[in-house]
Symmetry: C2
Subunit: 377 residues, 2 copies
């Protein structure tokens, strides 16, 4: 967007990945800081385990899912000490699956082994209002718009006193009505302070909150587990995982009920599908984390497309950039459900007019040599 605001709306910029092979074009999106991710694509090699991501991708063979897994593993090994590489790989991996789907004429979920894409119940993601009354109005509007599930997060929640948070929760439930599914996202606000989180338990239970998301830092596994043992509210987390191992750890040690995976961070669809399999085998429900475009939304639904019909995150406050980015959108059907298209690849194409409109010129020079400049469309 022309102006980036200091708010938690993650749809204010977009990092789009384009990969071409065999006459087709695949698209992916990183949920990542664009400039830093670009730098990780083109940076000079530091040593054998700290190479630019591009070096492990460009020129590789792409004919089967096994080729994507091989490229994925090569990036992980060759860029092991390049921290940003996992976010970069995520968008590349998504683009590779989109590309392979187009080359082979299959939707990505079919390439992943699912027979069909089952409908998901979308929950609308909204930011808490600045006041409880504003939150109540937002919830009421969502109910009126037909949403059966609603998540509030961030905003003032957790930053003020307990009473303010209780008022916010009561207002959300009141606005949504007694039957709606209410979810709450604390945005890691309590870091690893179990007692501070526990002061909200009573209100969370009274408002029948289905999950409490990210009370703590993704790595604070013992805090998650301790809190989970003090409440009937299920805990959710995992969006911060930037590889499958971090997600496994939340599943194995944190006693979460829902694992939330952002394919634009975790290492793309390849890593996300592994997490889905791991979670499903252990009775933890896999859901997507998505707060950007419908290209990212399609990508995020692929790894659990064939699973039981469950909730899925459905970004509801996209910036004009993120909304206009795609030619198609995953609209709700008449039952209020989301179903993936059965078109090849992700089934969602970027609108290049939008890309042109918002394109940012970037140039990176090292010792006078241009390593990157924003390519022509």
């Amino acid at each position: 967007m022309p102006e980036i605001k200091d708010i938690s709306d993650g749809s204010q910029d977009v990092l789009l990945v384009r990969i071409t092979a065999g006459g087709e074009v695949g698209w992916g999106e990183c949920e990542a800081a664009p400039l830093v991710t670009i730098a990780s694509l083109v940076c000079p090699m530091s040593h054998s385990a700290c190479k630019p991501v591009g070096a492990s991708v460009l020129g590789q063979r792409l004919e089967s899912p096994e080729d994507i897994r091989r490229i994925h593993q090569t990036v992980r090994a060759n860029s092991m000490d390049l921290l940003q590489a996992d976010h970069t790989l995520s968008g590349i991996d998504v683009a590779l699956w989109d590309l392979l789907g187009k080359v082979t004429g299959q939707p990505v979920y079919a390439l992943l082994g699912f027979e069909r894409a089952n409908p998901k119940i979308p929950y609308l993601s909204l930011l808490f209002g600045d006041t409880a009354e504003e939150t109540r109005q937002k919830a009421e509007m969502a109910r009126t718009a037909g949403y059966r599930a609603l998540k509030f997060g961030w905003g003032p929640f957790g930053h003020l006193d307990v009473k303010s948070d209780v008022d916010q929760l009561m207002a959300a439930r009141e606005g949504l009505g007694p039957d709606g599914i209410l979810l709450v996202d604390a945005g890691t606000v309590w870091v690893d302070d179990v007692e501070e989180a526990a002061r909200r338990i009573q209100a969370l239970e009274a408002c029948r909150v289905e999950w409490l998301e990210e009370p703590f830092h993704t790595g604070a596994l013992q805090a998650y587990k301790a809190l989970s043992q003090r409440t009937s509210v299920r805990l959710a987390g995992g969006e911060g995982a930037h590889n499958e191992y971090m997600a496994y750890q939340m599943i194995d040690y944190a006693n979460i009920g829902y694992v939330q995976i952002d394919v634009g961070r975790v290492g793309g669809i390849t890593a996300a599908k592994r997490v889905y399999d791991h979670a499903t085998a252990r009775g933890v429900t896999y859901v997507n984390h998505t707060f950007t475009s419908h290209l990212a939304l399609s990508a995020s639904l692929q790894p659990f497309a064939g699973g039981q019909p469950v909730l899925c995150e459905y970004p509801g406050q996209l910036s004009p950039l993120a909304y206009e980015l795609t030619c198609q959108h995953l609209s709700l059907n008449d039952k209020g459900e989301v179903i993936l298209p059965d078109r090849p690849g992700l089934g969602i194409e970027p609108d290049l007019n939008t890309v042109r409109k918002y394109l940012v010129d970037v140039e990176i020079k090292v010792n006078g040599q241009v390593l990157y400049e924003t390519p022509a469309l």
Copy 2:
């Protein structure tokens, strides 16, 4: 270095952090891809939890250790979704401790609460030779040079068959002699394949290897634990941890005997000291991971300076860049031990002539605006 080779020598480039305040200058070093780390310092904000690292550091008050912890926490919160930020923060945090030490006239270890810096037994880090015979010769030279402990890692180890690895281990032990402490670093070569690692157990035990380092990916906690239960050789790991939580998890779940922390990655001295406290309370031995300059070496020794005399990593094959980077070096005393200087801060100053000699010009432009150019010295 003018030429970066595709080998595992991490001292081929350096990212130096300089921070000034109160008329003093503090220096730190990131163990990180330089260009990507620079980009994370200056990138445009994506949203409220994805801000450039510099925005949380510049202009802050620095009068006490508590100020460093506050800045540290601010970076973590404001750059939560910027993956590279942890590596960037690491060098900044080190520079802040160096600076605070100089301002207050105290060594960093004293600011951390240690009464004194105890001597450490340095182990020399070497790469496995291309052949077993080359490894034997390297080990013999290390013994002749007076080292009591020696670590071999990377090179061909784990990439060829079991017999080749057994030959390498036998050669290392033979060259080092029966009394030396022998350590082995597998460089995550088996990813999470416990059986493949277990095929080397017999030889590792026969050669009395004190620790087997990084058989697996930092996140593969269950693989670590499974292997640990099949051998008397202690496992070591943790260098990949880019925050204290990842290190806690290795301590809590992976059944390692040694946790190896790189202050240039884990979030600096602040995070490393927390890991030291966590490890010590749980009977896991904290050691440093250092493969770069003696500025980084001094920083890496501070968080466990006052602990029991144990091993410390002592990089022995530094590139000319990394060796010449500092005016002082942490030389061995007549007992072959390393002791931190009692000078203020880290007690090691960069040699600006060396910095000038190897300085790389970087320029980053976004929409025509220069966000970064290599500063004058």
